[in-house]
Amino acid sequence: MIEVDHLRKAYGPLVAVEDASFNARPGEIFGLLGPNGAGKSTTIGCICGLLTPTAGSIRVSGHDVVASAQAAKRTIGVVPQEIALYEDLTARENLDYWGAVQGLGGAALNSAIKEALQSTGLADRAKEPVKRFSGGMKRRLNFAAGILHKPKVLLLDEPTVGVDPQSRVHLLDLVRGQAKAGACVLYTTHYMEEAETLCDRLAIIDHGRIIAQGTLEELRSMLGERDLLRLTGVFPEQAVRAALSQEPELELLGFEDGQLRLALARASERLSRLFELLGAAGAEVRGTTLTRPNLESLFIKLTGKELRE
């Protein structure tokens, strides 16, 4: 269980995380979705005890991460964004070290290593130095090093960055397996599709603030099941605004730089009607992008920008 309450982390005048609160429960995959630099890694750093919160509190498995840091750390497994492995050691030697650091030893460690190598599909490469591994294999081993001690809380910081599709699928299955086994998984990503397919609940974070959170359905409902339509071209503002104001169930989200952003229900059925209206208002439409209601469109609605910007 992770309980984050009004977390604030600042580096002097720079605020990395501001007033972030969320809970993640055992057996659940909780996603932190946001663009690069949104504050996801800082949040994870505070939870795992690498960073000291400026304000607020964090409890992991019932332990305060500042007051009872060691007790909290014993229940945590971390898979960092970087491939934090020793390139000159073999896969097995890496796991041997990380397992020992996480409190395992003897037969328990050997058994955990064997299991982790099997589950990540690296058993036949166990004796090879990591420097010979592909990016995907390194990512899998990076994951294995974080789950050796079967942590109650698993913190995954963008674990699929730069991996091939096959390894990504494999990694996501491994994450689901951990949650199924009862672990509380906190998963940060800037891949919307990953968050949608993997996470039970999500928090969307931008500029250090959580701007929305809930289940996927709850977040989708914030859009009101409306599609997002983006039009590019030439739009005389006053005439277009007047024309669109007559249209029911249509919200004008943005009007800037030859671009018009609209939220509307059943957009595909209403496209011809929209083009008529815009044509009558003297607009010239050159491009159309229709986005179904998803996290991307929610993010655009909430922040006015794309997730990957």
């Binding site: 005890g49 750390k73 970087e82 491939i83 934090a84 020793y86 030697e93 650091v101 996480q102």
Partner: protein, 412 residues
């Protein structure tokens, strides 16, 4: 302790995984030793000293001109020079071919000029491709000229008497000359017998019969510590890999204390030092006669040295803040230390004043004591006391490095 062992095991594995680094840490210092040995012949004073050929063109062929030649064949000069008589043209030709250090031309009339106290020109031709031997020949001729001058001061009349004689001297002349010399000696006796100066004669302590100089043996202790310096520097550099790979932060988030991390690395450096210098001691046994009985103490001393130097270098790396600057910082300590601390040149080879300064540096202090340990001259109590000093230094450096590492790279 469990975490310390895990950290040590990991770093030991990593160190042993790279035998090329181990070979370099030992190979570079011993390559330097080999080069020095080849350049200086290994046994600087036990082998034959360099001897220069000195050509003497004696155009006077008298008793005194012969004395010039004799001066270069007797005493210390005789060890340095091999005088060869020659005619001037032949001598000049040989000089042109670089076959001799110097050519001395004693002109005709030399003896009579000396006895009459008239100027006499003895010419010296030096070999320009040599610097030392021709200079010694020139200095020696200057000394001969001074001797002639003082001879004239004390016995000028008698010399004139000899020079005025022509042909075989008569018994009467011999008697007259002898009496004149006798009078001179009596005149001088009032000053020298008894001496007006009271001389305090100090007997210098009898030196032990010095063993022949063995360059390998002389340089061996410093060279072994050069390996330790390189090892400390190379091992401390690993902190940048830990940062680059993010393993340092991962270890922190997994609950590994900084002290266990540094402790493991220090122990791995000590193990590596034991392996590298153990091999060096075998070489020392083969070529420098290091007694096997002194190996355990020597190995203990080297491992303690490895711990101290690893931690000192780690502190420099942390203070530097980046790998490139770390290389510069550590170089600024390693190379000057090697120059004066007995690694690049043994203390035997240095001027006494420099050696005295060098022995005050941390490296020099370690090397000087290592010499005693290797020679079996250090009592066990002294070795233990020295090890205590090393352990204290290591403990201070250890705590400092842990604090610095937290402050520099792990503050959250």
């Amino acid at each position: 302790m469990r975490l310390l062992i895990a950290s040590f095991r990991k770093d030991a594995r990593r160190a042993l995984r790279d035998p090329s680094a181990l070979a370099l840490w030992l190979g570079i210092p011993f390559s330097i030793l080999l080069v020095m040995n080849l350049a200086f012949g290994g046994r600087a004073s036990s082998g034959p000293r360099p001897q220069g050929v000195i050509l003497i063109a004696d155009q006077d062929e008298t008793l005194l001109s012969g004395a010039v030649s004799s001066a270069f064949s007797q005493g210390p000069l005789g060890e340095m020079f091999k005088p060869e008589k020659t005619a001037e043209p032949d001598g000049r030709a040989r000089m042109a071919r670089g076959e001799a250090s110097a050519l001395i031309i004693v002109p005709k009339g030399f003896q009579s000029a000396v006895l009459d106290n008239r100027p006499a020109v003895v010419r010296l031709v030096k070999n320009p491709s040599q610097s030392i031997m021709p200079e010694i020949a020139g200095q020696s001729l200057d000394m001969l000229a001074e001797a002639v001058h003082y001879m004239h001061v004390v016995a000028g009349d008698e010399l004139k008497m000899i020079s005025s004689q022509t042909g075989q001297p008569s018994d009467n002349d011999v008697v007259k000359t002898s009496l004149a010399f006798n009078a001179t000696v009596k005149r001088l006796r009032q000053y020298v017998d008894p001496l007006l100066l009271e001389l305090e004669i100090k007997q210098p302590p009898k030196k032990e019969e010095s063993k022949p100089f063995n360059m390998f043996a002389s340089m061996f202790p410093g060279i072994v510590f050069m390996s330790i310096l390189f090892l400390g520097r190379g091992s401390s550099d690993d902190i940048w890999d830990e940062l680059r790979w993010a393993t340092l932060r991962r270890a922190q988030s997994a609950g590994l204390p900084v002290t266990a991390l540094i402790g493991g690395k220090m122990l791995a450096a000590m193990l590596t030092a034991a392996l590298v210098t153990g091999l060096a001691l075998v070489l020392g046994w083969l070529f420098a006669g290091i007694t096997v009985a002194n190996w355990p103490a020597a190995l203990g001393w080297l491992m303690a040295g490895a711990a101290v130097w690893y931690l000192a270098m780690l502190i420099l790396q942390i203070l530097a803040g980046a790998r490139e600057r770390g290389e510069i910082f550590t170089s600024l300590v390693v190379f000057p230390s090697m120059m004066v601390g007995g690694s690049m040149f043994s203390f035997d080879m240095m001027p006494e004043s420099i050696a005295a300064i060098g022995k005050l540096t941390p490296l020099g202090w370690m090397v000087a004591r290592f010499v005693s340990i290797l020679g079996g001259a250090a009592p066990a109590a002294s070795v233990l006391a020295w090890l205590g000093v090393m352990a204290t230094a290591a403990a201070v450096l250890f705590m400092l490095s842990a604090r610095l590492l937290r402050w520099r790279f792990l503050k959250g």
